[in-house]
């Protein structure tokens, strides 16, 4: 039984999208912590 193409695509596109979301999220968190003075 072979992994279907749809699953492979879901895995790859989903993985790339979630990684991009991560890059945005760390910046959002940084700005929030800076604003609230809670960086360190």
């Amino acid at each position: 039984m072979i992994f279907p193409l749809g699953f492979f695509e879901f895995l790859v596109y989903g993985g790339v999208a979630l990684t991009a979301f991560g890059a945005v999220l760390v910046i959002v968190l940084l700005l929030r912590d800076l604003k609230e003075g809670k960086l360190w």
Binding site: I2, F3, L11, G15, T19, V26, I27, L29, W40
Partner: protein, 493 residues
């Protein structure tokens, strides 16, 4: 050795110099905040969510994520990518533990300290041996990866590249302690996340996934097979290896102590979520390698070579920077956390029990420098592949999963059982590594250790007092109570 390099050697040196200077200057800048032992070792115990999350991601994205994940995909196909992603479960499961660690030991420093207070001397010595062996193995594999990558991508000789990467990390960790490590980790995590996305998106614009799927299915069907036994074993092995690495390692414990109250759980959960997709995003390009006629001489270099081939000069630069950041973010964390472990659990416990905080801070800097020298000496002869070096430690760290988890949550956990679990689990796992295959070592180590811990606790349950984890606080409280107690009348004298 790769036959052709993707970057000219001059560009490689230029990038290396640029980032080296940046990390050292930033390390010095953040290091100014480090005052006292808590500042140097634990960044003042006040790290916030953004830095906490980023440091979890950056530290866990090692060069093994960016180099071994494609190798896993090439050898085990889709299961290989999924197997590597399961390493994020360690971060998810450590999240509640980080909160508990902070609550149980508000003034704690190391994971070794916990094992000593919780289980006593025998388990402590075993734990220290496992922990130090693992930390050195990880650090050596990272430094070797640094040298290998620079050579493969730009032709910079292995010895020179490895020396620069290691030297830079030692310098900024030395200057700034955990402040420098966590501060640079933030920038490195951002570079890694953006870099992985850039390479992945560029690859997707040039390679059709349906072609990759069809070609792999036609030429190497096992890689696409749902029932690929060795790959499924690799999933469980990698999952347990990851749990063992995170649960026991002072790299993660020191961050739990360093994060502000209430931050650890959220930071580790978010860190796990952001780490989860990285092996897939970095690994899938390896499956495109056969379609592109890429000549793969070393399997652990498949990712960078494919990215360089697909994206040319810009791709090679991105890969270079991403892997350099991954390596630096792990080496600096290992240097700081291992130095803490050696300073607090070896030197203070066995050699200089009366050393004060100022003395310990000084010793810690010397230990960081010493670790750098030892790692450099071991890396110089360039022995073994990355996977072989790292997976050797899998059996050992997996045997610590149950002793650590049960020790944190159950008063009844038997100390002798915990020590036996680490000893027999390590030995059994190593036997499995040599007699069966590397991908069952962690599995066997975990099962043996679990059996020892559970059976011994069932037969002879212990009764541990959680207050014993804070001897200093307990003694302070006792002396305060003694001062507040009604004084005996002594006026007659």
């Amino acid at each position: 050795m790769i036959n052709e390099t993707i970057l000219p050697e001059t560009t490689g040196w230029l990038l290396l110099a640029l980032f080296s200077v940046a990390w050292i200057l930033l390390g010095r800048y953040w290091g100014k905040k480090a005052s006292g032992l808590d500042g140097y070792m634990l960044a003042g115990r006040s790290v916030g969510l953004a830095l906490g999350t980023a440091t979890a991601v950056a530290t866990w994205v090692t060069s093994n994520t960016t180099m071994l994940a494609p190798q896993f995909a090439l050898e085990f196909g889709i299961w290989g990518m999924l197997a590597y992603s399961t390493a994020s479960f360690g971060l998810f499961l450590f999240a509640p533990m980080a909160q508990r660690i902070r609550q149980l030991m508000p003034r704690g420093y190391t994971s070794g300290e916990f094992v000593r207070l919780r289980y006593g001397r025998a388990a402590y010595l075993l734990f220290l041996a496992i922990s130090l062996f693992y930390a050195l193995t990880w650090m050596i594999s990272m430094a070797m990866a640094g040298g290998t990558l620079l050579e493969a991508l730009s032709g910079i000789r292995y010895e020179f590249g490895m020396t620069v990467v290691l030297g830079v990390c030692v310098m900024y960790t030395l200057f700034g302690g955990l402040y420098a490590v966590i501060g640079t980790d933030f920038i490195q995590s951002f570079i890694i996340l953006v870099g992985v996305v850039v390479v992945a998106v560029a690859t997707l614009t040039q390679v059709d996934l349906s072609q990759v799927h069809a070609h792999t299915q036609a030429t190497r069907p096992a890689l696409m097979h749902v029932l690929f036994p060795a790959a499924i074993m690799a999933v469980f092995n990698n999952l347990l290896f990851g749990l063992g690495e995170i649960f026991h390692s002072n790299v993660w414990w020191s961050r739990a102590f360093a994060m502000r109250e209430g931050i650890g759980k959220k930071a580790y959960m978010l860190g796990g979520l952001l780490w989860l997709p990285i092996p897939v995003a970095a690994g899938f390009i390896a499956l495109a390698a056969p379609l592109l006629d890429v000549n793969i001489v070393r399997p652990d270099m498949v990712g960078p070579v494919v990215a360089g081939k697909l994206l040319g000069f810009a791709g090679a630069i991105v890969v270079f920077v991403v892997v350099f950041s991954s390596i630096a973010s792990s080496i600096d964390s290992l240097l700081a956390a291992t130095a803490d472990l050696i300073t607090k659990d070896v030197i203070q416990q066995f050699i200089m029990p009366k050393a004060n905080d100022a003395k310990l801070e000084k010793i810690s800097s010397w230990v960081i420098a010493g670790l750098g020298v030892v790692t450099w000496l071991v890396c110089l002869p360039r022995i073994g592949t990355l996977a072989t070096v790292l997976f050797f430690a899998g059996a050992l760290v997996a045997s610590t999963i149950w002793p650590i988890a049960m020790g944190l949550y159950s008063k009844k956990t038997n100390p002798t059982g915990a020590a036996l679990g680490m000893l027999l689990g390590s030995l059994g796992g190593l036997c499995a590594y040599f007699l069966v295959a590397w991908y069952v070592a962690a599995l066997v180590g975990t099962v043996i250790s679990m059996t020892c811990v559970l059976v011994s606790t069932w037969i002879a349950p212990h009764s541990f007092d959680w207050a014993d984890l804070n001897p200093e606080i307990s003694s302070d409280t006792e002396s305060e109570e003694a001062n507040l107690a009604p004084q005996p009348a002594g006026g007659a004298e």
